[in-house]
Subunit: 345 residues, 4 copies
């Protein structure tokens, strides 16, 4: 039987996860819940939007009239739906910290399975999940967390090397986009803003999935909206050649190689590729490594990769549903997910 | 018989026009020609791209080997194709000024019909075309020009008012995007750059379609890539009420009304709408007027509208093919085009 | 006797006004008051800063310990100072709206003269002041308001034409900087944000000084920090020639003419001029008109000017002190102020 | 006798070096030479500019009339000046690569001493200079190179640690400003652009001064104009404590410590400090380390520092004149230079 999925929260991640669930043939989207009406909800639920036929639930009953005044048809409330046993798993895409509140106030009461996002602390769940690292351990877990965009990109690329060559240590410098493209209120405009924590939280977050990895990260925020860029210095446990690293990345799904020499000189041209191939919302689920910037010196590997903060975690969320319920094995899930999302590899 | 269309030039406009022609049932894309391989051509012609099954022609034979070295299959050259009478109309989307050279060196020789874009001077063609203003006059013309993005947006909104109320005079202040999103080399980064000509060329360009309009325009360039924004002060020949102007815009295809009050507070949220409804490349063919910013005082109307420079001229190009060959009447063409492109009105 | 001036509020305007008062020989800065310690206060009061020898007062006694913990020496409180009759005029540079509260809660009680800034509503004062328009009427007033940056720039340029030629009507499109350079938290990053009011408040604000002017303004906010740029369409009561307008601007202090043709192609190069001549903080007190962009057609004049939002109102604040106390006549004050600030004209 | 200095090239660096030479009492600015008139030359040579009384020489005689047409008085040509033995040292601040041409075509012929900038390859000179590392070796050299901004910042901070604790290895990720503030033509606008070389050239450039240092650098370019920011991961030869590193930086001139916790949360507020203390052109000669972001784990030190690309190399250029001619010892020169420039330490 197909697991019945409810997506709670229709922000940047929630609206994408809901759409991705709709594209799967082995799970069912029973609805989406959200707090209050806004332009994003209006967009995706409109007759032109991908969720036009999906039932909408109010996560807080006191906003039902606000939805109705804004022209939305509300099918019911989140708690009614859970009370009636209509949901096997909630994918909680609410803002950071709200998921933990929801767990305490709602999810535990109704004994529903939950997938949390990376905005939640790791303690909210029994495990933090990545398709490539710990798919099999997810089966039967009630609460699982899928880490955030930067962490996911690091896990994908580092795991590909760690399982082949062993990693001694990692230093990653993150150049973060300041805000998603749809939000004009956040800055900076002409400044570089160092992350107030050194090391940044990204290193420890990677360790929630790869606990033995020796990793330190630092971050700055810059005035761009398209994507994060990481610069990595990785020391392996053995010397390798450049072609070995390239091959490791080529063999790994969800890592795409682009070349400066082919004209992809910045995040802008890479995003243009995804616009040009008509990828919906130009969502780049892949982490992109600039192949011709990769450099190897003995045990040391250096590269830059690019992370589309809006989209990269979507495939791992879909896999996580399958892993939690033991629907397929790891590689079957990865392939199904990637095909459904039109990934290029 | 369906007109056979060749698109010459695969830049921002050419790649979109070619894709739009593919979506029509009453014209046929015989191929695309371009000068040399680059990442944009690679994107759209790739197996993932919308032009993957379209024949590629070299506009300059000396670049054939460059195409082949880059992995492209070249079907032939532009001039061979024209010589063999395989093309009824070329849509010339080459960089500004090249179209006129092509006319003198190629198109006149092969007596092919041509649609030029707004980067060319008006003198290149027998008329400058807009679907709403002079569709009927295009029939039988050999050379027609479709004006550029800013001009098209002004014609659409101003014509809607002029035909209903009469326009006495127009002043438009244009706040231009500095460069398209895919090009990271152009600035400015933290500056506002006035157009070096006052009045700017946009006013005279509108007059190539609406010759009796009394219009003056000024422009600045700012560090954004998404869209142009215009601020207009229009004096009508008679007093109107706000609802009359709203109605005029509502009744006109390709003008879409959005509201600040609904959360579309900037160009960013409007673009997000088109991403959220999965519009390919988020192309906004519509000119967007902020409805709740529109203000009327007696004869004077003030509003702001938003122009997606990459996409707004595409529907007019498609209409122009039909108009040139007298395939359908004006409103049939407008409706067919708009339906094929998934427009929201 | 020299009027004793207290500056209340040490933000973008307050810190500059305080410094400018220090540079005058016919008024005395008795101190600066501010709410709480922050990095700007630390900068200007530091041993390197221009206010290092100025007494600091707490505008709210409850923050005295916060100041002391942050290493500041507090001389006393604002109300003590006023109570002791040590101040003839407060220049209130607190955030918008706070000035009116201060008036009700403090200034009225101590019967002190006050100059308010443009962030306050016009009703806070007996008049809104501009050095060129109504200097003489300020004498003996207790509460005067100096309007904000955009308004000041419009008054300077428009008054110069109105007094010479008469103005029939004005339309101004404002392209506003989004935030001052020192604030990295405000956006937008890649968007153009229309002002939510059409017409914008700037037109009515100009009328607080030039009540008979027929003016409509619109505005957008763009991702720059350096300066505002205005595009103006002005209809005069008589036809003029370009040289007449140029001459009017040349004859008026605090209007500076720059030329695109000389390399000042944007706000960036104009600001670089003020850096290159070592103007403190590159403060551009002048409104800059691009001379070679100015265009005249019969009665109609079109131009663009540039407004340094951080600095343009400073000279009018200084003049206002002299006007309020009748220290000098208008032109003597303008010349003294401009010389003290190193203005280029 | 004071060395007679000529500055050749009046760009971002040249105009600052010339001004800095004027501020010294033990060297003499005999003039500035530049290729052709532009707005920067006009700014600094104007009656308001810091070089208003300095003689101007044409570096290419064929532009003399261009200078005169632009209203400049040209005292003579560069080669005349050299031929007449009027110059002891040229500080060549011409664009990258031109210095080497000048050496071959001019400087070798006239046997003049030359200081080159970091835009030149290291081979142009007998040594690459840094005040702290190799001041004493400069005496008697004819050709010396002062490295560029990023390199200078790395040398200052790394040398401070290397001489105290020994450095095992360095990885530095550079987040570069895209263009100086006065140039509105360069992008990117909304993109992050990886440096096309991994490792970047900055590591090898540091080695021209610190040849035994084991250093790898990577870089991206982002849409800011104010400053570069570096993120460093440094492995020392011994474990240290955070206070040791802080002390090392505190004891070193031209390294300034700022704190996020004091409100300096980004490059913007740090630059505002230099505006607020009236530093001419807000030139930040110091490399700024964020003290509260510095982190130490055993042998490993992590920090971020900020580099004002327009100004940081100026003090080293001044020191280099003294070092070359043996005018003072190292620390005397550093102190004189820093005092003359109003440095905060």
């Amino acid at each position: 039987m197909k697991p019945r999925v409810l997506v709670n929260g229709l922000g940047t991640i929630g609206k994408r996860v809901a759409h991705a669930v709709l594209l799967q043939d082995d799970m069912k989207l029973v609805g989406v819940a959200t707090l209050r009406p806004n332009f994003v909800v209006a967009n995706v639920m409109s007759k032109h939007g991908p969720l036009s036929n999906v039932d909408l639930y109010a996560s807080d009953p006191s906003y039902i009239s606000a939805f109705e005044n804004a022209g939305f048809k509300v099918k019911g409330t989140l708690t009614e739906l859970l009370e009636n046993g209509k949901v096997d798993v909630v994918i909680d895409c609410t803002p950071g910290g709200v998921g933990e509140q929801n767990k305490q106030q709602i999810y535990e009461k109704y004994k529903v399975n939950v997938i949390f996002e990376g905005g939640e602390k790791a303690r909210v769940a029994e495990m933090t999940f990545n398709s490539f690292v710990n798919f099999e351990q997810a089966k039967g877990k009630r609460y699982i967390r899928v880490p955030s965009c930067n962490t996911t990109s690091l896990i994908r690329t580092l795991h590909a090397l760690d399982e082949r060559f062993g990693i001694e240590s990692v230093f990653a410098a993150l150049v973060r986009r300041a805000e998603d493209p749809h939000n004009p209120s956040e800055g900076p405009i002409n400044a570089t803003v160092p992350d107030a924590h050194v090391p940044s939280h990204h290193g420890p977050d990677v360790k929630t999935v790869m606990p033995n990895l020796n990793i330190v990260t630092m971050a700055v925020k810059v005035p761009v909206t398209l994507a994060h860029v990481h610069m990595l210095s990785v020391k392996l446990k053995q010397p390798v050649e450049k072609k070995d690293v390239i091959q490791a990345f080529e063999e790994t799904p969800r890592i795409a190689l682009f070349r400066i020499g082919d004209g992809y000189t910045s995040t802008a041209e890479v995003i243009e590729f995804f616009r040009d191939i008509l990828r919906p919302r130009y969502d780049m689920y892949e982490v992109v490594v600039w192949e011709d910037l990769l450099n190897v010196e003995g045990n040391n590997v250096y590269w830059s990769h690019m992370v589309h903060q809006e989209a990269i975690v979507i495939p791992e969320n879909i896999d996580c549903v399958r892993a939690m319920f033991g629907i397929t094995d790891k590689w079957t899930s990865i392939k199904k997910t990637d095909k459904s999302l039109g990934m290029i590899k």
